[in-house]
Symmetry: D2
Subunit: 377 residues, 4 copies
Amino acid sequence: MKPLNIGLIGYGFMGRTHSNGYKRVNDFFPELEHRPVLKAVCGRNAESVQAFADQWQYESIETDWRKLIGRDDIDAVDICTPNNSHAEIAIAAAQAGKMILCEKPLALNPAEGEKMIEAVEKAGVVNTVWYNYRRVPAVTMAKQLVDQGRLGRIFHYRANFLQDWTISEDVPQGGAALWRLDVAAAGSGVTGDLLAHCIDTAIWLNGSITNVSAMTETFVKERMHTETGKMEPVGIDDACAFLCRFENGSLGLFESTRYARGHKALYTFEINGEKGSLRWDLHDLHRLEWFDHADEGRLRGWRSIHVTDGEHPYMDKWWVPGLQIGYEHTFVHQVADFLKGIESGQKVHPTFRDAQETQRVCDAVLTSASEKSWQTV
Amino acid sequence: MKPLNIGLIGYGFMGRTHSNGYKRVNDFFPELEHRPVLKAVCGRNAESVQAFADQWQYESIETDWRKLIGRDDIDAVDICTPNNSHAEIAIAAAQAGKMILCEKPLALNPAEGEKMIEAVEKAGVVNTVWYNYRRVPAVTMAKQLVDQGRLGRIFHYRANFLQDWTISEDVPQGGAALWRLDVAAAGSGVTGDLLAHCIDTAIWLNGSITNVSAMTETFVKERMHTETGKMEPVGIDDACAFLCRFENGSLGLFESTRYARGHKALYTFEINGEKGSLRWDLHDLHRLEWFDHADEGRLRGWRSIHVTDGEHPYMDKWWVPGLQIGYEHTFVHQVADFLKGIESGQKVHPTFRDAQETQRVCDAVLTSASEKSWQTV
Amino acid sequence: MKPLNIGLIGYGFMGRTHSNGYKRVNDFFPELEHRPVLKAVCGRNAESVQAFADQWQYESIETDWRKLIGRDDIDAVDICTPNNSHAEIAIAAAQAGKMILCEKPLALNPAEGEKMIEAVEKAGVVNTVWYNYRRVPAVTMAKQLVDQGRLGRIFHYRANFLQDWTISEDVPQGGAALWRLDVAAAGSGVTGDLLAHCIDTAIWLNGSITNVSAMTETFVKERMHTETGKMEPVGIDDACAFLCRFENGSLGLFESTRYARGHKALYTFEINGEKGSLRWDLHDLHRLEWFDHADEGRLRGWRSIHVTDGEHPYMDKWWVPGLQIGYEHTFVHQVADFLKGIESGQKVHPTFRDAQETQRVCDAVLTSASEKSWQTV
Amino acid sequence: MKPLNIGLIGYGFMGRTHSNGYKRVNDFFPELEHRPVLKAVCGRNAESVQAFADQWQYESIETDWRKLIGRDDIDAVDICTPNNSHAEIAIAAAQAGKMILCEKPLALNPAEGEKMIEAVEKAGVVNTVWYNYRRVPAVTMAKQLVDQGRLGRIFHYRANFLQDWTISEDVPQGGAALWRLDVAAAGSGVTGDLLAHCIDTAIWLNGSITNVSAMTETFVKERMHTETGKMEPVGIDDACAFLCRFENGSLGLFESTRYARGHKALYTFEINGEKGSLRWDLHDLHRLEWFDHADEGRLRGWRSIHVTDGEHPYMDKWWVPGLQIGYEHTFVHQVADFLKGIESGQKVHPTFRDAQETQRVCDAVLTSASEKSWQTV
């Protein structure tokens, strides 16, 4: 078994999900030739990064990401920092010849994304972006059904990502925990954070989005900033919805918000095709709902498929039928596919270039909302 | 259109459901040759029976059921009185040559039932019992699937009928509204009231029950009796559950209670066969859940069939796909089938003889519970 | 009991639902002082209108709606014809001093609607539009909760009306059965047929819509016309989706289509407020889902309320808890409220004026879709 | 961090779930003072046990469990072998002074269980049994609600564990993969395998079971035995259902089968109390359904609680609200609680003595089924 030395930059929520992916992958994917090694983790605060390293058994720490990238004993750099540093770090890592696993969204905007693509392609380094929901087994099976033509001509695609955790005006913005509410760090609100997931899945399943009409809203106009200690304007979008058309002629409808009382992380999508329809919901992520028009007329109905059998994507690696896996497994799957990509020489999707398409849709969405007009992607 | 003159005895909850059935059937079943005519309604209290007659447009009232049965202008007698008067009225009606529609359960016990069967068969009069749930479209479709062999060999049958309306000790027993809690009037508690429905459907769908092991409980031991005004012992079963075996080798499990907090009238059944399974739930009565093992392996799942299409049983009579009907329609369907039976000379199931089988199972269940031993039906 | 003589114009699907409402209302609403009398039904084809009259027990027929309106023995005119004749008939009926019950949508466009309002208000006649879904008990309860402030400040409103019955290219357009697919008769496709329902409910629950951005699509461009016998262009919208803003600052998202494979008549809406959220679905219309942020934190969850108790709106009129009613009951309720309105002198909502607001939103939606720009309502 | 050296005996399905628990616990429970060390794994086939050791990173292997128990560098013995060897191994391990984690069911029968208890209590060693479902967060929260008296007096408890994987007659019995179908290795069929889980949870939540009436069935009478290569009689129960009474006066109903077509591992339970009711389902294990009679009458409904918040049991250790964990996490939780028990000196439930109560109920169930009579536990 060959070691693959990982250098993790950032150690927040995503640092945990990725670390868990690296540590677990070989227990469940014994066919892999590589074993990820938690070589180093990097953060600005030495004390807390050391605590993280101790908990997760990283071999060493760094407090300057440039030093981590410069280390010879690092094979792959994993970028888990806030969005506004993705580009700089990724470009430097590419120049240092490291493989790169970058948290989503790729960048603050398409211009940054373009430079990142240029850097990794010029350096010829393996690159991937953590749009993890592609690797929920039920979502992967949805992709198989679409690719097999089981849905026929597609008429409609709709997706939501609904949360409710920022309704209180007392939630502050900024800092390690809440940088997602700070436009400087995050670039946008729900668009980059949540809709980006919906868009990535949509493009994967249904092809390119050609034009959009969007609206955004910021319900709470000012929040205490944890760095300044003062009330500051909120620059992010609290909610965003958009209409769109796909290249294949189907219509799309997307919505995301952090003000949908009662929903924690309700990412859902539905595709309606001539021959069949599919529905999925992150709150019960192991289920895929499938309607097959080829069924006998009087017995047609939405099937609730509990995607936990050995013949379902990824599920031969886990337990037995009926026993579900969870959110974190999507990261284990992505690590497995990453390692298989290295071993086979195949690209590991979504690559930076794949993720850039989502970036461009997000950008068109934000522009459409601010200009109140349809935008071509 | 030929008139069919109805004489209704009893005008409580069931009097309303039946009257509604008579009044609506011709609007939706135009192929019928008969039109029920609400000729007379009978009850002991002249004032309140007159109010009922006025509301529902009955042509006349009676206060003595023997007089109603004696009238020449009555073709069919509908018995909606408490259980302890079914036998006497039905036997008299049969002797008077009337068609009989009797509310369930057929009788207080199998001995009474036997005499009723003897009377109607000797008189040669049309007879039926209002086990209305057979005529929920989804339940009727379940019957079709079973009869077509779509489930293959049956392994399991389970049914529940769960309510929660008698949990409070302040609910009295007896009188027009609450005779179901008075053992003298009702004969038993949930067994005759609720399990009888479950058993009728089960026998219809899965054949005879051969032996049972039951337990019953009366959680509230005394209740105010509305007739005596005093606290009196409660003689009915508040809850009843039983194990059983069917003649076809399958295992059965039944439960009913009025102490299942949160359930209003949750009648559910499920059948598991070698090739497929079925599930139904009165709280969403227009849905049939169907699992077909013949489906492609990875895509197997329970289908939620919204039984509202024109090709579904009875549904060509009503609205358009997706628009549901409700509880009361089961009675309209039973009236329609009753009239078609008269017109075709076919028996209208369940006949008294059919209903007697349920009676015998109920009797075995109550005996088993009191003797704490398996009983052969 | 005073008679209220009904003259029904049109006898298709809606003619049946309304007739059923008139015939049943007094059985279940005994407090009413009026009894609707099915005096006359009008249609162009004498033979088939007579068959309808026979089935539903109308006393007489007419083949010219002007004659029906001219009859002295008609108190109220019920307009169930295709949309392109609503205005002409309603204006004539108003001038004849008749009460008017008009099927939705009010008119082909706001200009027609304006004239209709002028006519009924000038004549001072009672007028109402059959936006029946307001009177689903669960929907009425949603209104009560909103009005009581239980949701607090509203952030989001979303509604869908999804069907799948026109996916086949072989479905023709036009004629008595399929005028909804013929733009000349219907004015629009899903916008006037389905979204109009969603919009009416939305305005009722959440107040005025101020501006919209929409897209429409016609997936099947040509269909055989049943009147010409030739392939003709399809002029209606097969699908329509729009973003909007409400006057109260909340964001709206609406979608309707007849190309959502697997959905029969899936009308759903959801409202997210600061204190709580509501969800409803026509396919299980007796359920209201309610999320209350005031619940103890760890025990918060969406409650599935089976709206079948005596204390729920309208449900004291029907059966007992757990026993559901269906689609058709909304029309019975509307008749009951119509009669109560007459008896009390109160307006019966939605009046023509109420319905005109929906008309204006529909118009803005269609304009937005064709001009590809935001439109102010 | 102190090491706790684990010796695992058996390396099948349960060997994997336990190993995963040991390897992950410290990543998510940083407060623990101990770190499990995968010191040795034992199995009879050296080659395959070595493969398992390599995959899961065990430091060494043994092929004789007595040698493993004899090793000084083993602190805790984990027994994952078929049921018929639990007693012998556990007693030996106790005599060797090892902590013991035994897979469920405790033993083949109560007599064996008694000896095991005697051994561990005499030796004074920490002991626990892997009834893992207690530690599903939703189930743990159910326990909290019961203990807080939120349900009031309990009337009903019902539980099912339904599977469908042995319907085909072609499934053989015996051997490493299918010892659960071989009565010699398993002791019983669904009773010990599945109902034992239901009973353990039931006793934990609702107290002792006092008497039972059961029935069992073996649908497929002969299966090829993988060891003899011949068709052999099937000695296990394919299905088992029983009625029971609890010490607290409530009624119980339990059923398990491997012949319920369409169900993979559908473990469900429901408790109905005077004040509230609870429901849970393994197929969506992160949800707890809760009905609270204290809610305002018209708004009462079953709440679907997505048990994924930081304030829910164990969930502060994992991700963020809405992101679910899965089956395997129950074992991580049990390891965490085991370590906390060691650190605090508290017993780790269920202990052998706790598990013996389930054993005795299983025994009474099997006796009742074979003698066709009620049995006292």
